[in-house]
Symmetry: C2
């Protein structure tokens, strides 16, 4: 039996981009997962972005993923908040961030977002990036079809 929640966090570590949805608008964001699997998706962004504004307002956020490489697809719903957790920032800080924030981790433009998912729905596909007809899973016509993945509702 597939542990979908474990698969979600494990595969999310390899996901470089997803779509954040706030107030019906979508924009790409790069998720970060902490080594201790703290149940949080961390994002780095800049003051003035839609993501930063959403976090400052504590808004409801949906994060969508359609990552062929890791075979993780779907979305999680939750709330975003600004965090001043220096340990987490140290952990997820990377060379990309370093190239964008001139003053490093103390750059006043830098915003660390703590996104806590509450529930979601995911589809798993083969991690080799094979083509895949997702909806056939949902249609429950898979009994006699190749076993390539699965779909599950998640509650965190």
């Amino acid at each position: 039996m597939t542990d979908f929640k474990k698969e979600f966090w494990d595969r999310l570590e390899d996901v470089r981009a997803g779509l954040m949805e706030v107030d019906g608008r979508l924009f790409p964001m790069s998720p970060n997962v902490s080594d201790d699997h703290d149940g949080v998706i961390w994002f780095l962004t800049a003051n003035g972005t839609d993501a930063a504004d959403a976090a400052k307002a504590g808004k409801a956020v949906r994060f969508g993923i359609c990552d062929t490489g890791s075979g993780l697809h779907g979305y999680v719903n939750g709330t975003a908040a600004v965090s001043d957790n220096k340990e987490k920032l140290d952990e997820i800080w990377n060379f990309v961030a370093a190239s964008w924030y001139e003053e490093g981790k103390d750059d006043p433009d830098l915003v660390l977002i703590k996104f806590t998912p509450k529930d979601g729905e995911i589809w798993l596909s083969p991690e080799n990036g094979a083509m895949f007809l997702f909806e056939t899973i949902k249609a429950n016509i898979t009994d006699s079809k190749p076993d390539l993945g699965g779909r599950a509702n998640l509650t965190f």
Copy 2:
């Protein structure tokens, strides 16, 4: 000057999965692009799926993409319709579809969806899958930063 619309169609050819949004629900779908670049995103699905129902009802649909491999991210808005275009079906039919639809292209469960985008918003990132902080583009703080991609509104 980047031709974002051309980049959209060119890169979409390499995208294996995106998220279709109908009535606020998201589910993964595999897009197909015709060789003649007809301005349509084609999908294969089965009777009874949310995608098929949306197409039969001619609903407004959003298709979101966050594909690290091709460096294409964002969404397009449009309408979905059921199509009986045999030539397009021949063109996009593939071994994955063949493994799911036992009766082949004549399988009564098979539904060909014609999704015509009207507008959208895309972000381009390097095609090598490098990590990327998208929102920094949007925040217009990129003047002195690495030139890694761009963002554009699209009208089709």
